[in-house]
Symmetry: C2
Subunit: 196 residues, 2 copies
DNA sequence: GTCTATAATTAGATAGAC
DNA sequence: GTCTATCTAATTATAGAC
């Protein structure tokens, strides 16, 4: 977290987090050294400790910020009353948000085991909160009879896993547009949960 | 006791790989030291180098063996002629195989970036081969008119991501049996790809 | 085959000059 | 705020005794 408001802290602090995010995503938290991050920013290693008490906190702050942004962006969305429309909104939102932040997403899924226990627990609760958003939609549709699911929690995890998987292969330089991808996944999600 | 030469090699080698697999899955390749692996096996660190030229090769061998086993197990399966039955077979096979090997699966997905380029390329080809198995089934169903998919490759990746996600939450101690889980996922996969 | 000992390198983090 | 210098500890891998 930025703790100083000096003229440099406004610029070096964010650059440290940006460099750490890029390098952690590319090479893994445990593999990246503080010296590598410093070199990427263009300072010496000691200077990093003006912006984070230690490496572990730097990782946690990145992951926490990502989840906070995810929940804030979701909260800013209108959620349709009709379950099918609400599900479409969630699906498209999830794909867009994740494709916009490949590095943060990668870290969020890969580096959980490098967190200390209290840090892990905090993030797990945020993840569960997000999962709850989808579960609420699926429950409403189940009650209304438009969805047919044996287990709401398993279904929500299955859908989220499917959607998040898009980040492992999608490239803007590829043949499919983001709109194409949204549409393809949405049709699969729609059918997967539908009552027949 | 007879001479020890040879008599340990048949047992220490596998124990090294087992310990490495467990520790890599739990703590991550980069975090685990050769000394930790050695301690888990019950030898000194130097002794490990009788069984692997270096740490990187130890990781690669684990991942390669996992993919070889996956393809061999799949090849040993009967593949139904009817696309719907073939898809059900693939789905249940994938879930069973992955739930049986949580550590190997975890490593296979998390440690790809810790491989050198030629090692990575080898595994990527094996992964693509496995993906091709599902693509062939989906293509056959598409041609037969029983599946309706906009993009076979994207669909196969979506299905595999959804199914593999089961390993992140399923525990034998939980409320659902493996048969329950297979059934829940199968119903979602079946509907997701179906022509309406 | 395994041990002890060690070489060579690198890590995270801190102290104090400027 | 950043730098240089440094401390302490840990790392991979190897050499040679047994």
């Amino acid at each position: 977290m930025a703790r100083t408001q000096g003229s440099y802290s406004g610029t070096t602090g964010p650059r440290v987090r940006k460099a750490a995010q890029k390098l952690f995503a590319r090479n893994g938290y445990a593999t990246v050294s503080m010296r590598q991050i410093a070199a990427d920013v263009g300072v010496q290693a000691g200077a990093l400790y003006n912006y984070t008490p230690d490496k572990q906190t730097l990782l946690f702050d990145l992951m926490k910020q990502h989840m906070d942004e995810l929940l804030a962006a979701r909260a800013a969305q209108d959620v349709a009353q009709v379950p099918l429309a609400a599900l479409e909104g969630f699906t498209r939102f999830h794909i867009r948000f994740h494709l916009d932040r490949p590095d943060a997403v990668f870290i969020a899924y890969m580096e959980l085991r490098n967190l200390t226990e209290p840090h892990f627990e905090q993030l797990e609760q945020l993840r569960a909160t997000y999962e709850g958003e989808l579960m609420a939609i699926l429950s409403a549709g189940q009650v209304a009879g438009v969805f047919d699911l044996r287990d709401i929690k398993v279904a929500s995890r299955a859908v989220i896993a499917m959607l998040t998987g898009v980040t492992t292969w999608y490239r803007d330089s590829g043949a499919l547009s983001r709109e194409d991808v949204e549409e393809i996944y949405w049709q699969m999600v729609r059918k997967a949960v539908a009552a027949t």
